[in-house]
Symmetry: C2
Subunit: 254 residues, 2 copies
DNA sequence: GCTTGACCCTGACGCGACGTCAGGCTGTTG
DNA sequence: CAACAGCCTGACGTCGCGTCAGGGTCAAGC
């Protein structure tokens, strides 16, 4: 008795199926260190520890065979595994953040009627080799009206909703422009209140936009020329103005 | 001419293989909107846009069939897809952050010679149902020495390295205790310098530890009783002291 | 003591999402 | 006009399991 956990308990604990543990046993990735007289698998603490490592590496995308060589490499102590896992997880974190940022950028672009290039859209999917295909694609159907057309179709949202959302956005933009014209400082309470309204509008109509995320958008308004152009067409200096107000507002929230 | 991109160009642009595009065509997930007289696939802008959606949903773990139903659902406009993708990506971000934190906790625990329970280790792998298995496992081999044993073996790092690292850690801890005894305020420059040394020690020996991450560790020292106990055994009040110093140090860096 | 029902075992086949040839057509370039 | 890169359609292989099928095990309750 007390020779370890059954395969079912182990599976439940680790959040995998019994079949998965059978599989890992068969391919020699994780064989329980004991069996009962009747042939029941018995998982000891050390087995669970190994299972944990296996699941981590699996989650990180390693094929099981490679996981086995990693874990069986006697020259790699546990601390090294932890360091590697840590590094890989932080890479993944960055990548996910980039994807979140890309989706937010796309939303913002849609709201403004700006269309992003396909290169930009795919940028976030790793291993990117720019120049080459950028030029190629641009040449093939870069400046045509195909984009404008495919743009038109994609924008649905029930026209009514869209018009309401657009009106809301225009309203805040006009009030920003008014504040700018009246000489109200972009870091003033009044401008920050407008920024806050802008943020809550995004949250209502598009996605839950935290102050930090909003600050990121603010930066983009002056860093990406197309977003800058959008605001500059409303009023000269408005891009910088909104950007500053938004970031100031984010700062006061924290 | 100019009827769209070839399958090769498209694959390169999107960072997938030609075979993948063939597959998507065959299963009807993404059929290029045109073909040349010779039967060559021609991908139009709208096709690329769809491909982008497909890859995003795929990355998020959806089976291709489900991706198809999602994208073919006429009642779901593009904005809704963006919102959903945003939500899913943020979930994933949170999950990854939790895993990073778990790995850091494990490293910290190892450095202190504390062993975490298997429940804690698996906690981070979603869909967690606590109570039940917690009790079960605890009963089966909770307090035995099995853990201690499996602990011993896992700690390799070449004994020499480990001793050096341990000595370094002990040194800083002793100096923290000394500062506490001498009545040096935990938010004082002297204590913060010690905290900074602590942080750099972690960075050298374990993983790159940013000030924010370090602040997180500091919080843990008072929130998790085992980490608290570790420090309290060195000197009463030391857990809170180190925690405060570490967080103060993190604050001054930012 | 015997049955019931939950849990365990080992095959063995199936499946999703492609990878990887094979055998043959296309089309641009020197 | 030959060569070579690129495209086509089968068709089989692979990885990581899911899903039966057919049969043993074991604590619980009658």
């Amino acid at each position: 008795m007390n020779g370890g956990m059954s395969v079912g308990d182990t599976a439940a604990l680790a959040g995998v199926t019994v079949r998965t543990l059978h599989h890992y046993d068969r391919i020699g990735l994780l064989s329980p260190s004991g069996r009962t007289a009747a042939g029941y698998r018995q998982y000891a603490p050390a087995d669970l520890e190994r299972l944990h490592q296996v699941l981590l590496y699996r989650e990180l995308g390693f094929p099981l065979e490679e996981v086995a060589t990693l874990l069986d490499d006697a020259s790699a102590d546990p601390a090294e595994h932890l360091r590697r896992q840590h590094r890989l997880l932080r890479d993944r974190l960055e990548r996910t953040q980039a994807m979140v940022a890309a989706v937010e950028k796309e939303m913002e672009a849609r709201a403004m009627g700006i269309s992003l290039t396909p290169e930009e859209r795919f940028e976030v999917f790793g291993d990117w080799l720019p120049e080459e295909y950028a030029a190629e694609a641009e040449e093939k159907w870069g400046g045509t009206d195909a984009w404008a057309q495919s743009q038109q179709r994609t924008r649905a949202m029930t026209k009514e909703d869209w018009l309401r959302v657009k009106a809301e956005g225009d309203d805040v933009e006009r009030r920003f422009a008014g504040a700018l014209a009246a000489g109200v400082a972009p870091a003033s309470e009044q401008a920050m209140d407008l920024a806050e309204e802008h943020r809550q509008q995004i949250s209502r109509n598009f996605y839950d936009c935290s102050p930090e995320m909003h600050a990121g958008l603010g930066r983009m308004y002056v860093e990406d020329e197309r977003f800058t152009a959008y605001y500059e067409r409303i009023a000269p200096g408005l891009a910088q103005y909104v950007s500053t107000a938004v970031q100031a507002n984010a700062a006061r929230q924290g």
